[in-house]
Symmetry: C2
Subunit: 213 residues, 2 copies
């Protein structure tokens, strides 16, 4: 089936994208406003984007005239913390996604703990297995209220048992992170893994020759 995007409504475009581009990693982002009030909200238009500078991107929507907290806070302060989401804090993440009034402390409602960051004002979430302190490098306004925010990673916090400190080797399979799937509430666990090593040109040629024998 071929679908001409020019003929779709905004909602249809969104629905098709989020039900096909899966699994998406999840950033539970913490920010502060100019008074220091903490906000926490999850985003799945999120990914790593660069090694040098080390950077992640996150797309944050803002309604004109009524900037949502994360978008307004990043615009005002240039800082955010990305907290990754494992199975244990999945439900807490979902509470942070509730459309609370601005004065409500999402972390408290969700039973999560704010821990101080080293280089930015927004706290990290203590229960998160991995957090990245970020300073905004760029904000690309793709459409009205649609912000593609790129942040440089300044500090990483990783739970001790998840990393070999000597070799900086992360035990990714032990993190049990979840990915965002489709619909209003489907998620994937990262439990059903398989290994398919990348091939050098020589390895590919050898495999091909063997298959043709």
């Amino acid at each position: 089936m071929q679908i001409d995007y020019a003929k779709l409504t905004t909602h249809e475009r969104y629905k098709l994208l989020v039900s096909t581009v899966v699994p998406r990693p999840i950033a539970l982002a913490t920010t502060v406003d100019l008074q220091g009030v903490v906000n926490a909200a999850p985003f799945s238009f999120f990914n790593a984007v660069c090694d040098e500078p080390a950077a992640v991107m996150m797309c944050v929507n803002a309604v004109p005239g009524a900037l949502k907290d994360t978008a307004r806070n990043i615009r005002d302060t240039g800082e955010f913390v990305v907290n990754l989401v494992d199975e244990d804090i999945a439900n807490a993440m979902n509470i942070c996604a509730v459309d609370f009034p601005p004065e409500v402390d999402e972390l408290k409602e969700a039973g999560l703990t704010a821990a101080p960051s080293l280089k930015v004002r927004p706290p990290r979430i203590a229960e998160s297995p991995v957090s990245f302190e970020c300073r905004r490098l760029a904000n690309l306004e793709l459409g009205i209220g649609r912000n593609l925010v790129v942040g440089e990673v300044l500090t990483a916090h990783i739970r001790d048992e998840l990393i070999d400190a000597e070799k900086l080797r992360v035990h990714t399979e032990k993190m049990r992170l979840i990915g965002r799937m489709h619909g209003t509430g489907w998620y994937a666990r990262t439990t059903d893994l398989f290994e398919m090593p990348r091939l050098s040109l020589d390895e590919f040629r050898q495999l091909k020759a063997a298959a043709e024998d």
Copy 2:
């Protein structure tokens, strides 16, 4: 454990990012050069980013003086096709990642079929369950040779049995897409799913009140 990114090498920064920001969706991108020669290569610094305009982003590295095919082709033509990757074409995707000389046709080596696109010159991959024809909206050069490419989605191709054409409802769970995990070759299947519906403020308050009873 706290890790100061200023003290890491580029390789260490990369290793920490790709072993923690998971699961990442995968774009098997097809492009053409100015002579029409097709290139195909997989990228996992990829995601949907916007509904209006409908857009995806993909980060493509280029070595100065020796532009890799995808980066050079998008720079020269402004067009690319994102083909999503299911379990059936995982191995073919891995062959497209082999560092072939520029004149080698990755699709042929991988046993994949180029099918014509409607609005852009790069072909889509017939075996892919979903393909998006894209025209570059923006290219953000984050570092030397590091391109964050944003493409507007012009056309979506979805395999007939994966979509309810009337309601534009995608059967995401039937797509069996894979996500990129850590290391040189770990991937996740999207088989181990769970539902956690997003809560309205009223629903949250009712749940909270019930829990406190």
